[in-house]
């Protein structure tokens, strides 16, 4: 199986290989980063704040004189883990509901769509602000907020695709053959939605990374001394004027992670079978 995966990877275009490499790299950092970190995540190890690159601190020191590399290595798992989990949760839920709505008829679709409209029309950052103020910040809550925030978006897009596909001749033919609604949804409609939905997943992943950093802007987010990548950017923002590594490093980390995920997704053989 590993061999076949490897073979598959070899057939990817260059951009896909780059994407795969970046994704694997960040997965590795997420898994092993905390073990590799040279200093504890909260330790005050540098005398000065916003120090530049040095032998003791490869990525310099942050706004409190902590080691940036250590914080980056320890923080990546929050971003990778939370964003991946929330994006998957959001996409799976949204798409499943959209398919249900597309084949379920008006009785199913109406309440579902109203509910989604309700969720989406409450601005996500304000929604998070209220929930965090009410329940306190915790990882499961952040995951839930991120997932809830992006379910309706996925639902909208998936439903638009599904409704469109449901009108297609081959679906009508299947229906005429007397195939079950859910059978049609899964075998006829879903495979043909995969490509745009994957593109959407990639974007949702990015948005969740950004939502987490946006939340850190509003003072919500992962509990200190840990920080996700977005929070690392935020907490060091006052170093931007002096071009501190403490802000550049996590910003580059976010960019490579999100670009990597999307490059990989774009390069996947997108079109489903069975049309």
């Amino acid at each position: 199986m590993i061999a076949s995966a490897f073979k598959r990877a070899k057939t990817l275009p260059l951009s896909g290989k780059v994407g795969l490499t970046l994704v694997l790299f960040w997965l590795a950092v997420a898994l092993f980063g905390p073990m590799l970190a040279p200093y504890p995540v909260g330790a005050f190890v540098a005398y000065d704040v916003f120090e530049g690159q040095s032998a003791a601190h490869w990525l310099g020191s942050d706004y409190l004189g902590r080691d940036v590399l250590s914080r980056l290595l320890s923080g990546a798992r929050y971003t990778v883990g939370l964003a991946a989990a929330a994006a998957m949760l959001a996409s799976a839920t949204g798409t499943a509901l959209a398919l249900t709505a597309a084949v379920g008829g008006a009785k199913v679709e109406e309440p579902l769509s109203r509910f989604m409209d309700m969720l989406i029309s409450i601005p996500s950052k304000i929604f998070s602000l209220v929930l965090v103020a009410a329940f306190g910040s915790s990882l499961p809550l952040l995951l839930l907020i991120a997932a809830i925030t992006y379910v309706p978006g996925n639902y909208r897009i998936a439903r638009a695709l599904a409704v469109n596909l449901a009108q297609m001749d081959y679906v009508q033919v299947a229906r005429a053959r007397g195939e079950g609604r859910f059978h049609i949804a899964i075998t006829e409609i879903l495979p043909n939605m995969i490509h745009p939905l994957l593109a959407d997943f990639g974007l949702r992943f990015v948005f969740i990374v950004l939502l987490l950093s946006g939340l850190s802007f509003l003072g919500l987010g992962v509990q200190p001394p840990d920080a996700d990548l977005g929070s690392l950017v935020r907490e060091n923002i006052s170093g931007l004027g002096e071009g501190a590594l403490a802000i550049l490093a996590p910003a580059v980390a976010i960019a490579t992670l999100t670009v990597g995920v999307n490059l990989l997704i774009d390069a996947l053989p997108g079109r489903g079978k069975g049309r």
Partner: protein, 326 residues
Amino acid sequence: MAGASSQSGMKAALSLIGKRFASSLLTLLLVSVTIFVIAQLLPGDAAQEALGQSATAEQVAALRHEMGLDRPAYVRYASWLTGMVSGDPGQSMVANMPVAGVIAERLPNSLLLAALTALVAVPVALTIGIGSAMNRGGRIDRALNIATLSMVAVPEFLVATIAVLIFSVKLRWLPSIALASEEMGWGDYLRGVAMPILTLSVVVIAQMARMTRAAVIDQMDRPYVEMAVLKGVAPVQVVLKHIMPNAIAPIVNAMALSLSYLLGGAVIVETIFNYPGLASLMVNAVTSRDMPLLQACAMIFCAAYLLLMLIADVTAILANPRLRAQ
């Protein structure tokens, strides 16, 4: 035939608008209930927040009575709802003026910022999306792909801060804060909102462009497109005449979604540029527990979203004959 088709399109659109109106009211009601319920979960209330740290219990009780907060929750909700139905969103508990007045100061600012951003972002996104789809796999496509991805990968507060450092602090071309005041001319106003527009555009262009590309590519492999290409129709014609009508549903949906973000999602941009818009007003309302104001903001965001969605769906119906049957 074209006449008949456009007529049936109009009919379908009108009946959709009619149906949507009823369901919109339902959605608004649902939002108001949700907002009310989750706001009840928040610690403290308007009286406590207004009096702050220094309040004594008697003071809080007195103010609570004055604000009507000593009534049971369902009574407060009902009285708010009856007010709303009769067109009165109530009195802001904190600002001590009618909610309508508070909103009236901010809503035009938010709408203007969103409209200007849309004006910049939609054409750019469509161009990028269609352009890269037509060059699928080519150098332009890959370059645009990386560009949009990197654009969206930067947190917006970082985009905003970098822009301020370059354009206001270093070059001094643009003001670092977007003050919208009445004695300002259009020129000053546009200079003031240039960076907020830039920042918001960066956020929304990427999503819109990528969804456009995906939707167009999705259609490109279909037999009818191959037929058209075989018949020798020019590529631009193929895209505009044949592909777009079929790809339009997901595209306008993605656009409507992105654009709805411009109102409620602008809170970080409003904060950084000190722009007096609705999103920061709503954050204010949350932190001061000003329920009538919070509800009014939520209603506006919800209505704006529903309107955008309606526009998206009507556009989709008018563009794609297949959807009219629905």
